[in-house]
């Protein structure tokens, strides 16, 4: 059962001042995420996935805007137990979590970095966009999680990725990437529909701690990004400190970085980033960032921004 801490509720009352909106947030947050899968286009087509779902008598709806995304409606067994999942023909993956690779739009032959890659579904999406070519570096500092990441990438048939067993902060500064995904470790408020226990570790101190780490990672991302390259920053939380706050610090440190508009898929418009929260005013351009609240599109909470690196002065 989801029980919000009073301080967290207080925050969301500030973020969602209209009572109806706030009540809707709380109500939807107490429900589970819809079951969704993404076709692994390295191995299968949407038509094949549709035929398998029909064969298994699973009702489904194909998302109007997110490619290869299916919402499953009458699932009576575990997705992980199905051979289609086990053999990597599709991946269970939440709707909002499919956005960062979609927004980054990694292309064949590019050099791409996934700074916090485990468990690996976004890495697979990146490899799919790259048509299994180019260089894809997937960082994971924990050995057991790196093994799991290797397993998941193998199952999906990813040929162009290397798993780097290290904190992405320790990557050599000589590396340069065309595109970087920083789906940063966060306080995880957005996961509460999936893991209500997430809230047990929530505190404002924990949010601050994560924000400090995120700033370090974002600064490292800029150092590793080619001029003209693209960085997508995302977190599965809506804490302003971890969203607009991190980007504001980044933009102050690197004026050459610019937040650019995101072309969101149909059915997932989201809301613009905040211009301020409590006593902090955020950098201009935050309106190009996107906040996804669970009550808007029946997703987990999510924040995403796309930045382009201009010429450093």
């Amino acid at each position: 059962m989801t029980v919000f801490s009073p301080r967290l509720l207080e925050r969301y009352r500030e973020l969602l001042p209209e009572k109806e909106d706030f009540d809707s947030f709380v109500r939807v947050s107490k429900t589970r995420n819809p079951k969704t899968i993404r076709t692994n286009t390295l191995k299968a087509s949407d038509a094949w996935v549709e035929s398998r779902l029909r064969e298994r008598n699973i009702s489904f709806e194909k998302h109007e805007g997110v490619p290869h995304l299916f919402t499953l409606q009458n699932l009576s067994f575990l997705l992980g137990g199905m051979w289609e999942t086990q053999m990597g023909f599709w991946q269970p993956q939440e709707t909002a979590s499919q956005l960062p690779p979609l927004v980054l739009d990694a292309l064949p032959g590019e050099h791409v970095l996934d700074m916090a890659a485990a468990p690996g579904n976004k890495t697979i999406q990146l490899a799919s966009g790259m048509q299994n070519t180019g260089v894809l570096v997937a960082c994971e500092p924990n050995k057991e999680r790196a093994k799991a990441l290797r397993f998941v990438l193998g199952k999906a048939g990813v040929v162009n990725a290397g798993v780097a067993l290290q904190d992405s902060l320790t990557l050599p500064d000589s590396l340069r990437f065309d595109k970087i995904l920083l789906d940063a470790p966060c306080s995880g408020e957005g996961l509460l529909r999936k893991k209500p226990q997430t809230l047990k570790s929530w505190s404002e101190k924990y949010v601050q701690h994560k924000a400090q780490l995120q700033v370090k990672m974002a600064l490292k991302a800029v150092a590793l990004l080619k001029e003209g390259g693209t960085l997508v920053y995302s977190v599965c939380t809506l804490s302003p400190e971890e969203c607009e706050g991190v980007l504001t610090t980044l933009l102050h440190a690197h004026p050459a970085m610019k937040i650019v508009p995101i072309s969101m898929p149909a059915g997932l418009a989201g809301r613009p980033g905040l211009s301020s929260f409590r006593n902090r005013t955020f950098s201009s351009g935050m309106s190009h960032a996107v906040r996804l609240y669970p009550q808007d599109h029946n997703t987990q909470s999510f924040f995403i921004a796309k930045l382009v690196k201009g010429r450093e002065k």
Binding site: T36, T85, G88, P119, E140, K155, G157, N160, L171, L175
Partner: protein, 159 residues
């Protein structure tokens, strides 16, 4: 860190095998570089070669590319590879009905009753298909199929 990329002659041994056993065209494999670590054989997109030979100091590569053979001497292929290149596999295919396929996924040896053999040249490693789509790898031994599937799942329920 030095990545053990294969010499062109060793790589040719592997591509020749895949062409002769499964009919995979050489052209689909020419953009890969081959890596051998002990008995395990991997392929990676050749774009990695300038970056990884040798990898810059400070880049700690834990794994690279996709495992093709679990054993390079016996050419034991991985299901991960076979299913990725399914559309290019033209021979040594055993088409199973779904009930038999489920038994195979339960790691049982299955008999070939109701199976359809597609240009099966000899016993040995074969691709297993369902309604024409390559789904897994197995070993054909007489009238039995022995599953050759990935190890225990470390997959997530989605991130």
């Amino acid at each position: 860190m030095k990545i053990p990329f294969c010499s062109p002659s060793v790589a040719k041994r592997y591509t020749d095998y895949l062409t002769s056993r499964y009919g995979i065209p050489l052209s689909t494999m020419k953009k890969w570089s081959w890596i051998q670590h002990k008995e395990n054989v991997f392929v990676v997109d050749s774009s990695w070669v300038p970056l990884a030979s040798p990898a810059p100091s400070g880049l700690n590569i834990f794994s690279l590319g996709l495992q093709v053979f679990a054993n390079g001497k016996t050419f034991e292929p991985t299901s991960n590879f076979i299913t990725l290149f399914g559309e290019h596999i033209k021979q040594n295919i055993v088409e199973l009905p779904e009930t038999k396929l489920l038994s195979l996924f339960n790691r049982a040896h299955v008999t070939l009753e109701n199976a359809r053999m597609v240009r099966v040249l000899s016993d040995g490693w074969v691709a297993v298909s369902l309604n024409g789509k390559i789904i897994a790898s197995a070993a054909l031994k007489g009238k039995h199929l022995i599953p050759n599937l990935p190890g225990s799942s470390h997959g997530s329920d989605g991130d």
